[in-house]
């Protein structure tokens, strides 16, 4: 069970949240110019990071707000939590001592 700290509500169990997939995927600037392959990559292709991974979560049974979580996909540690209008925080030792 993950313990995720909602930026507005504080630490709550994972069961109160919904997962929203990879974060920081901007909508295409000129969507009309995209071909099928580029659309498929925008819609379906996601990173499969080993290590710190930025992803979106929503506190669905709490304040119902979206926010970003930096989670280590190897250890499942929640490394940072930040709001959608904040940039991805720099980790002092990204990758750590593995």
């Amino acid at each position: 069970m993950l313990l995720i700290t909602c930026p507005w509500c504080g630490p709550r169990d994972e069961t109160e949240y919904h997962y929203g997939g990879q974060a920081h995927l901007p909508y295409p600037h000129a969507p009309a110019d995209l071909d099928d392959r580029q659309w498929a990559e925008y819609v379906f292709y996601r990173d499969n990071t080993k290590g710190p991974f930025a992803e979106r979560w929503m506190h669905s049974t709490g304040c119902r707000r979206w926010f970003n979580v930096l989670r280590d996909t190897v250890t499942n540690d929640v490394l940072a939590v930040y709001r959608l209008d904040e940039p991805r925080p720099e980790l002092p030792q990204a990758g750590g001592n593995r």
Binding site: C6, W8, C9, G10, R12, D13, T15, E16, S60, T61, G62, C63, R64, R65
Partner: protein, 183 residues
Amino acid sequence: MRAAAVSGSRGVTLAEWPFITMVNLRVDPASEAADRIEKALGAPLPRQCGHIAASGPRTVVWLGPDEWLVLSQAEGTAVAAELRNALAGAPGSIVDVSANRTTLELSGPAARQVLEKGCPLDLHPRAFGPGQAVSTTVGPVAVLLWQVDDAPTYRLFPRSSFADYLARWLIDAMSEYRGPEVP
């Protein structure tokens, strides 16, 4: 519900308080409209998770950074109309959601133990106390949970369609306190 009541040192009772007026309020807390609404309510809007503000017969509960639930005994249309006048067309919304949730009151020395069977929140007095209200889950049901006093008395606000299930869940969880404590 009444038949499920347990008395004594491990007592716990469950009751429903139907038809409480609830108005959902959304407004930017930094706006002038929020100031006008605070004047109309007679209390500042709570700005932090868990906080509530009481003003006479009304209670304002924090739901989100720009969302509150106003609980009142007055008629729903009157409360909503008053708040809508205070909003005066500024960006925001005021919706009478009285039919959205019902109110279950769980009270007695064992009430916290009953809730702890299915609530992921830390309900120990060091972390949660009277005058706090948060959205969370009890069993599989999403509720707004408000601790009213030290008895402890909790008020649970589940969505109407989950209320029957939640009441049965609580009655089942309460039944063990009828017997003697297992060491």
